[in-house]
């Protein structure tokens, strides 16, 4: 199928969840496996309609564990893959997220966050999966997580997620929230040839070459990837493994492997990180907010400025890696006096902000089910 069939170029009035699905199609999604869950189901339903029509494969699985396992398998066979879920399903996926990180198979998982824990408020907004996304599977590993704040960014950042997953061979998330997922706004879809595409690195030697080691990394710490059925006869295992991919159950192999898995994101963080700065040049108080909360914060900054408060905003578009370099620059620029962190959880991103500054950090929290209003944020900015 031509890329043009996948990319519906032009201006649309589009649901955030549908924009995410369209972004995945534009990014070259080949294989989707999923399980219905509010408030992400519209992504799945949209792809059930659209993906087979452009030559892709759509599978409804028996649960979220099967969904993530299936996309890892399809990606190991060369497919660009995605699944979408919400908190309860995201929890079920955690073990296999660790597998994808360990065997370095690129996957994209969309988590449309709802008020949690447990079943929580299934149809209402939450932003409380931020730390789970980073630390949810056991052990040390690295992930990349994008946080769109509009349907347009659902489209754009889903494409970015596919490219980052392939470039770094790490589990990559699109952490939407229910408000953004269920919001309908203008979405501009560019022409097919304007969709950015970064492919995974492929072996430079032919199958059977004794020089091919499936887990020998290049200077960027990422190894080229051979797929099932190409003749390379790869072995992939969640056990600690050497450059051949063979289990090697020693502390030395483990140290080398796990450090590389973490470092390939840590040392490339400045290339991966995305953020937006709003009126921070002279800001004395900077609000750090993402997703739907950043929309309230943007309004709050404007309202505060009308009251004579020199306010600005840092909006992380990647939660992981966190934009810590720019945060530190703001914290050390001699103008910023404090930060305000509104978020629809009880202080998850706040912890991350506090880690990078000694300035006062004011929390503004709601556990979920409602947005934080601009007035509440203005009040915190005025403190």
């Amino acid at each position: 199928m031509a890329l043009e069939d996948r990319v519906v170029a032009g201006d649309h009035f589009m649901l955030g969840d549908h924009a995410c699905a369209e972004g995945a199609l534009a990014a070259g999604l080949d294989f989707y496996a999923g399980y219905p869950i509010t408030p992400s189901t519209e992504i799945m339903e949209h792809l059930a309609e659209r993906l087979p029509m452009v030559g892709g494969t759509f599978v409804q699985m028996e649960d979220e564990i099967g969904s993530v396992a299936a996309i890892i398998g399809a990606s190991a066979a060369g497919a660009r893959v995605m699944t979408a879920t919400s908190g309860p399903g995201f929890s079920l996926m955690m073990e296999n997220i660790g597998l994808a990180a360990m065997i370095e198979v690129p996957i994209v998982i969309v988590d449309v966050m709802r008020a949690s824990p447990s079943t929580g408020l299934p149809t209402s907004v939450g932003q409380s999966d931020l730390l789970q996304a980073r630390w949810g599977s056991h052990g040390d590993y690295a992930v990349i997580a994008y946080c769109p704040a509009s349907p347009q960014e659902c489209f754009d950042l889903t494409i970015a997620a596919f490219n980052a997953a392939d470039q770094y061979r790490v589990p990559t998330f699109v952490l939407m929230d229910e408000i953004v997922g269920h919001m309908t706004e203008r979405v501009f879809v560019p022409q097919a040839d304007a969709i950015p595409r970064v492919n995974r690195k492929r072996p430079s030697v032919p199958p059977g070459s004794p020089d091919f080691l499936p887990y020998k990394a290049d200077e960027d710490l990422v190894p080229p990837m051979a797929h099932a059925g190409e003749g390379y006869r790869v072995h992939m295992t969640g056990l600690t493994h050497d450059e051949r991919g063979y289990p090697s159950l020693t502390a030395q192999t483990h140290e080398k492997l796990i450090n590389r898995l973490v470092d390939k994101v840590r040392l490339n963080a400045d290339r991966i990180v995305r953020y937006e700065l709003v009126q921070t040049d002279d800001a004395e108080v900077v609000v750090v907010a993402l997703g739907c909360t950043s929309r309230s914060a943007r309004r709050a900054v404007a309202l505060a400025r009308m009251q004579g408060i020199r306010a600005g905003m840092l909006r992380p578009m990647t939660m992981w890696p966190f934009p810590q370099t720019v945060l530190k620059e703001l914290a050390n620029n001699g103008i910023v006096k404090r930060f305000v962190v509104p978020e629809i959880n009880l202080g998850q991103m706040c912890r991350e902000v506090q880690r990078h500054t000694a300035l006062p950090v004011i929390r503004l929290n709601h556990p979920g089910g409602a947005m934080i209003t601009p007035d509440q944020i203005v009040e915190a900015l005025a403190q």
Binding site: G56, E62, A69, I72, A74, A77, A228, R233
Partner: protein, 280 residues
């Protein structure tokens, strides 16, 4: 001759196995090695190029199978070999994907995926090496542990009814169902060859000795004794009603039925093609 002495320089199966990973980790008397060797023997005889075979395993002793075969091979998470393999087989229907895993991995923690893959007729060959216990963790009971059998977690005997796996998979619509033991390597090889060249969900239960985890607490003796037990008790019956093939260890004279039980035509799950057919 001492242990570890090189007797021959090469073996006919060296190119089919990851010989550089041998010796394997399995116990003396374990039957998993026989399954792996019969599998690669069938691969060689299948006429299907080696590079079109893919082997996927879960976790456990049998889950280590993928690590020893010289094809694209994936050692995944506990219970998730089947959905992982579904991803490969559905995206690349030209590949011949075999899942080799244990009874606990496939039917306890992975039971949900097992029944749904069979129901969907996913194009997979699933080899369930049934040694009646969790061997890797030291011999605990699982959903195939026979009534009254002792294990580390059933020290007073197992009083849960075990799965009858051939009956289960037949009811789910598998296109091929067989049960053999590692004693029956020739019958197993024939079954593997037949199953490799079929569509749909194909299932072979392979009873295998586990002298360390199952034989010892149940006074079966070593691996050879368990094989002799199979020799004495197994009864080939290809046409038996599968609700009668429960494995009963409490009555020493009751037969263990083996055979090629089900062989029907059922196309493999092809979501892409199905969608296209209806979209036109």
């Amino acid at each position: 001759m001492s242990i570890g002495e090189v007797v021959v320089e090469s073996h006919p199966s060296d190119t089919l196995l990851r010989a550089d990973r041998l010796p394997h980790i399995l116990c003396a008397g374990c039957g998993i090695g026989s399954v792996i060797h019969t599998y690669v023997d069938a691969i060689a005889a299948s006429g299907i190029p080696l590079d079109q075979h893919v082997c996927v395993s879960g976790i456990g002793c049998s889950g280590r199978a993928a690590g020893y075969v010289n094809v694209d091979s994936y050692h995944t998470t506990h219970g998730r070999a089947i959905p992982f393999a579904l991803g490969i087989a559905t995206y690349r229907p030209d590949l011949h994907v075999t899942v080799i895993s244990g009874d606990g991995d496939l039917t306890a923690i992975g039971g949900n995926h097992f029944i749904h893959a069979a129901r969907r007729s996913v194009g997979l060959l699933v080899l369930c090496i049934n040694n009646f216990n969790y061997g890797m963790t030291g011999g605990q009971a699982g959903p195939t542990t026979p009534m009254s059998a002792k294990s580390r977690t059933t020290p007073h005997g197992c009083w849960e009814r075990p799965f009858n796996l051939p009956f289960l998979t037949q009811s789910l619509g598998a296109s091929y169902v067989a049960r053999w033991t590692v004693l029956h390597v020739r019958q197993l090889r024939t079954a593997l060859l037949r199953a490799m060249n079929k569509e749909g969900f194909r299932f072979i239960e392979i009873l295998s000795p586990c002298p360390t985890g199952f034989g010892r607490p149940n006074n079966i003796g070593d691996g050879l004794s368990e094989m002799q037990n199979y020799l004495r008790r197994c009864e080939v019956n290809n046409n038996i009603d599968l609700h009668k093939v429960d494995i009963d260890l409490t009555h020493k004279d009751s037969p263990i039925y083996v055979g090629d039980f089900v062989d029907v035509d059922r196309p493999s799950f092809r979501p892409h093609i199905a969608h296209h057919a209806t979209a036109q």
